[in-house]
Subunit: 362 residues, 2 copies
């Protein structure tokens, strides 16, 4: 694997090294996680906090949980969400109790989406998308933030445990809205432990790390509650198709939404930045540079499941046997296939939406 | 009445004038309120905000509400609480929908009283005390903060409407605990308007004014909600028996608790500061100074219902016909009577506690 892991290191590797150092994160090592998934094996999942607690729970078949939230403000899911769901799926298969909360309160407060509209959107779009992306609907526990009084009670209680300066030290900024929303997120993160104290793992993008730090600080403050500090696991961003660090709504042509019409994804992928040379002749002679190619990054992160296949794409490009046009055609076909399955999966999930397990609140 | 109102002005009158000016309060004028109660007639209720909204609602028989909260941290009620309940009773009799919320979340977060213990204490002690002090149990709507998701949702929403600096401008200080608790109080204050937009009046001591200001600021911020700015009405503190401004737990001998053993109240009242002269002869000659007498203040604020009787006590003292010893005996007897009725009233209320109207939450 050594010759595979290295070339896959993205051009952003140095940034991630710096982030790990600055934030005090552990390096993620797939060898501690049985049947590591695509993202883990390929270094897309790159860091974590307290990962041993989780690998130990998996090895010893002890209870633990994995949790994420849905923000139902628009019918849109990103590739980042796809990575989170794939991590959820991994841990769920390894025995974690899986929780999905719908952050309808947050959606209402920050985007003016009514609680009713947020609920409808989550049921008709987001939850089906999460299921289509791999979550096991039969084994996942769902709740709406606005229904969960225990979460709101915890947030209220936690507020008394931190000072404004501590909050500022974590978030850089503090205002009432951010404070109440961060505290509610911490309460969500710890909620599964009300029933049973157990390790929990939260898959997040690095931008969500402040919530993890706050949650861990608060656990240390409410010692009498005996919460177990939550673990976290971080994935890299999917770079935008134009080669910038992160996909962004401000450059819609260089991001992929889920689901998205395949005419549109084909147009976007065909316009993506590649590692091709100026002429075909030159590329045949020198080979392409997959390290600079956003299609290869898409293949690696999302489209090509088999390491062997990805490896052969890498070497075909490198050796001048795979031209960018063919690579684009291949990636577009894989994307078509992925989108088709996603849409079908969402339709199926939508039909079975009333079979989901929602937490029942008195 | 002119010769009655004036002498009743406490020695603290100037402080209250300053408070009114500093806080921008309206002077309370009992002539706008039909059958003004003892506290209103005697200048103990001295100021308010937006009082015309309430006097208009009374005159025009339009819907309005009166609201207060119970903080169930200890089995203790103060004379300040008694004044709040008497104001509640007044407005309830004038047609207001009366709401009492039990701040169990606040009790849990600030004093570590569990929600269960807070609930028990409120039902066994505070609510019976409020009823014994004059609240009509059949017409009062109760809820526990921790049950009321709508209040918690409002607090969450309001948090996004104010900045940290605005919060600091009102409270002088801001930390996550204070912020969440103040926002929850504002949500409590506005909660009755979720069912119907209507004026509301909140009887408070002057120390609670920041919450009123925050509530009014937030109403102005969420214009699309069409909340009606809440009105407030302020009463003076009951001075402590040693003549300091405010009764305080740090000087237990100069405060009266409700209920309190009458042996103890008698001891305390007999040791109270009076407006007596150095010798009986001198007092017979010069008369006492009821303006400096804490017993007279007790009579005025709490013990003597009839203005005529209070007036005659005043003049008997002033003219040298009422000596402090006799005055003390009279006040002690009135206090005995009050405490006896309070205890009986609480026992009766406790027996009927399951007939109260609690808001039912889904």
């Amino acid at each position: 694997m050594a010759n595979i892991i290295d070339p896959w290191g993205s051009e952003l590797a140095e940034d991630y090294e710096k982030i790990m150092k600055d934030f005090g994160l552990e390096r993620f090592d797939p060898k501690h996680f049985p049947n590591a998934n695509r993202l883990m094996r390929r270094g897309v999942v790159f860091a974590g906090r307290d990962l041993k607690r989780i690998s130990d729970a998996i090895r010893n078949k002890k209870p633990f949980y994995v949790l994420t939230g849905i923000m139902p403000t628009a019918e849109r899911v990103h590739l980042g969400t796809k990575m989170v769901v794939e991590q959820m799926k991994y841990f769920q298969e390894k025995g974690a109790k899986a929780y999905i909360l719908v952050a309808d309160l947050e959606a209402a407060a920050t985007r003016g989406v009514s609680l009713e509209a947020a609920r409808k959107m989550a049921l008709e779009f987001h939850i089906p998308a999460y299921i289509a992306l791999g979550l096991d609907p039969k084994k996942t526990i769902f709740y709406f933030q606005s229904d969960n009084k225990q979460v709101l009670h915890l947030a209220y209680e936690f507020a008394k445990k931190i000072t404004l300066n501590e909050f500022k030290a974590i978030y850089g900024i503090a205002d009432p809205g951010r404070i109440i929303s961060a505290l509610t997120q911490v309460a969500d993160v710890l909620y599964p432990q009300l029933e049973q104290r157990m390790p929990g793992i939260i898959p997040v993008g690095i931008d969500q790390d402040p919530h993890i730090r706050l949650a861990r600080d608060i656990v240390a403050r409410v010692k009498d509650k005996n919460f177990i500090p939550v673990s976290s696991i971080y994935h890299k961003f999917t770079p935008s198709l134009d080669g910038e660090m992160k996909m962004s709504k401000s450059r819609p042509e260089s991001m992929i939404e889920l689901p998205e019409d395949t005419k549109s994804t084909t147009r976007k992928l065909k316009a993506a930045k590649t590692g091709g040379r100026d002429t075909i002749e030159e590329q045949k002679k020198l080979g392409g540079i997959p390290e600079n190619c956003m299609l290869f990054e898409m293949d690696k992160q999302h489209l090509v499941e088999s390491d062997k296949e990805l490896n052969s794409i890498y070497h075909a490009c490198k050796s001048g046997n795979l031209m960018c046009g063919n690579h684009k055609n291949n990636s577009c076909a894989l994307m078509d296939n992925f989108m088709e399955n996603l849409v079908l999966g969402m339709e199926k999930a939508r039909k079975n939406i009333d079979k989901l397990k929602f937490v029942e609140f008195r």
